[in-house]
């Protein structure tokens, strides 16, 4: 092991300081309980990918790359395209991360992104068939956590949405389908809430993550429906916590989604201008 990181590694004093702040509706980094860190979205950062986005949430950084290829559908869904989501923790993103196949943490974050998109029916997989049973569009969505300063979940979710929205089909697929992009039906965004003692806060920083009793990620759509939820860590939640989280996740989700939509729109109009 490199630097061992323990739950609550900054000690008891820090915990007490944190609680004192929370009582005054404040966070150690100056935020209120329901505010996110600065969000920055850069599109087309990897031009070799059909779609890509880098999201910086505070100092947490996630890169999403989308490759769109033609391939064989699954035998049980011959009339649907295929969505594959993977998440890789770059070993330099955090001292705790080890190189190698994705661990429990990476798989967990990747799965929440996957379910948010899949269950939210954000992509009409039925519209991605080139030749039924033989040839469909395969969407490879690969996420890389480049720098971990807390709440990798939401950064990954936003990067995924932005990369999918800005992705362009390669020539061969575009002419077969008669359109040049995925044309999302819904826009899922995850909002992660942490619970420390009796306090619920959004977008936990890496220092706060060490002291969380439980964490709940809620993925909402633009129409207010929820497309996936995932509770992690071993602290229990009661019903009021969950309902409070859902309401807050919808509100915050709308704010984050608006920024994603605005960024993609701006990028597309600029791209159109360039191609004229």
């Amino acid at each position: 092991m490199r630097k061992p990181v323990f739950q609550g590694s900054l000690g008891q004093d820090y915990y007490e300081y944190l609680i004192e702040k929370l009582k005054a509706n404040q966070r150690v980094d100056g935020r209120t309980l329901d505010s996110y860190r600065d969000l920055k979205i850069d599109l087309n950062v990897v031009p070799k990918a059909e779609g890509s986005a880098q999201v910086q949430l505070g100092k947490t950084s996630v890169l999403a790359g989308v490759k769109l290829t033609a391939g064989v559908p699954y035998a049980d869904t011959p009339d649907e395209g295929v969505l594959t989501v993977g998440l890789d923790l770059a070993p330099f993103a955090h001292p705790e991360f080890q190189p190698g196949p994705p661990d429990e943490k990476a798989v967990g974050w990747g799965r929440v992104v996957d379910r948010g998109i899949r269950e939210g029916k954000a992509i009409d997989l039925g519209s991605l068939v080139i030749e039924e049973g033989r040839k469909v569009v395969i969407i490879w969505l690969d996420l890389t956590l480049i720098n971990h300063e807390g709440n990798a979940q939401d950064a990954a979710s936003i990067a995924a949405l932005a990369a999918l929205m800005s992705a362009r089909f390669p020539e061969e697929i575009a002419s077969a389908l008669g359109r040049d992009s995925l044309e999302l039906l819904h826009f899922p965004v995850s909002v992660t809430l942490g619970k420390i003692s009796d306090f619920m806060l959004v977008d936990p920083s890496i220092e706060e993550e060490d002291y969380l009793d439980s964490e709940l990620s809620v993925t909402s759509l633009e129409d207010g429906r929820i497309s996936s939820m995932q509770k992690i860590l071993s602290g229990p939640l009661n019903e009021e916590d969950v309902m409070k989280a859902v309401i807050l996740a919808k509100k915050k989700g709308d704010e984050l989604r608006e920024l994603v939509l605005k960024t993609v729109k701006k990028h597309k109009s600029r791209a159109n201008k360039d191609s004229e």
Binding site: G65, V66, T69
Partner: protein, 245 residues
């Protein structure tokens, strides 16, 4: 990958497929200290290559892998699935293993390992976009990241790949030139020591061409090295405190 003829790769006027002359290197940019959790880091753009290197350590090595008189240097070169034209499987491949070793051995002579006994230094390299010559760009990123981490070093390590197209030696080959050219000859050097620390060659070259390649590489490496040093200086410029007050 599209097949290109030698004439398409290099015109009669000596212009390459991306518009460069035979002795022209690709644009080279270095950013230092781009990560917060790594002890040192560097982002390198060499042509369309985008490479991120992060150094973790030095930290106490595990008992079974530590040396009493020096540090252990580990290097892992890894390509992201979206970095290439065709999606690459995220699984660590034999090629990545081979390159990791070549990069480690390119860096090792520059690092003063005996200054840090019993420790381990990990260099992690992620290729975010690949465009030929990724091992050279990786060496360039990794040596700056090591310096940023404050690891004692004798020199930086700087690398470039020489290629051969239409029987002509060309500098800093891109993806298409690597794929369709007659030779790929990556070279890394410690510029101030004039020592070669990485040398591989695929293709066909004669004795004179080998000598000429090394001379060409030395010239480019000198200018890439200046860019590496300036990037480090930019981060570590001391506060301007006037003596007079």
């Amino acid at each position: 990958m599209s097949k290109l003829s030698q004439e398409e790769l290099l015109t009669d006027d000596g212009i390459r497929n991306d518009g460069r002359r035979v002795d022209e290197a690709r644009p080279f940019e270095v950013e230092v200290g781009v990560l917060t959790q790594a002890n040192g880091s560097a982002l390198v753009r060499q042509g369309k290559n985008v490479i991120l290197a992060g150094v973790m350590g030095p930290y106490e090595a595990e008992r079974h892998s530590q040396y009493l008189d020096r540090a252990v240097l580990k290097v892992r070169y890894h390509m992201q699935p979206y970095s290439t034209n065709d999606r690459k499987s995220p699984t660590y491949s034999r090629r990545e293993m081979e390159l990791s070793r070549a990069i480690r051995e390119a860096l090792e002579p520059a690092v003063i390992l005996t200054d840090l006994p019993r420790t381990e230094i990990d260099v992690f390299i992620e290729v975010l976009q690949a465009d030929g010559g990724t091992r050279c760009a990786s060496v360039n990123a990794a040596s700056v990241a090591l310096a940023d981490a404050g690891i004692p070093m004798k020199d930086l390590v700087t690398a470039v790949a020489i290629g051969k197209i239409r029987d002509t030696l060309v500098i800093d080959i891109n993806d298409l030139e690597d794929e369709n050219g007659q030779a790929d000859f990556p070279i890394a050097m410690m510029p101030n020591k004039d020592k070669i620390t990485l040398l591989q060659m695929n293709g066909l070259l004669d004795e004179a061409e080998i000598k000429k390649s090394i001379d060409m590489a030395r010239g480019v490496i000198g200018s890439l090295y200046t860019i590496q040093v300036n990037a480090l200086k930019k981060k570590y410029t001391p506060l301007a405190v006037s003596k007079e007050g």
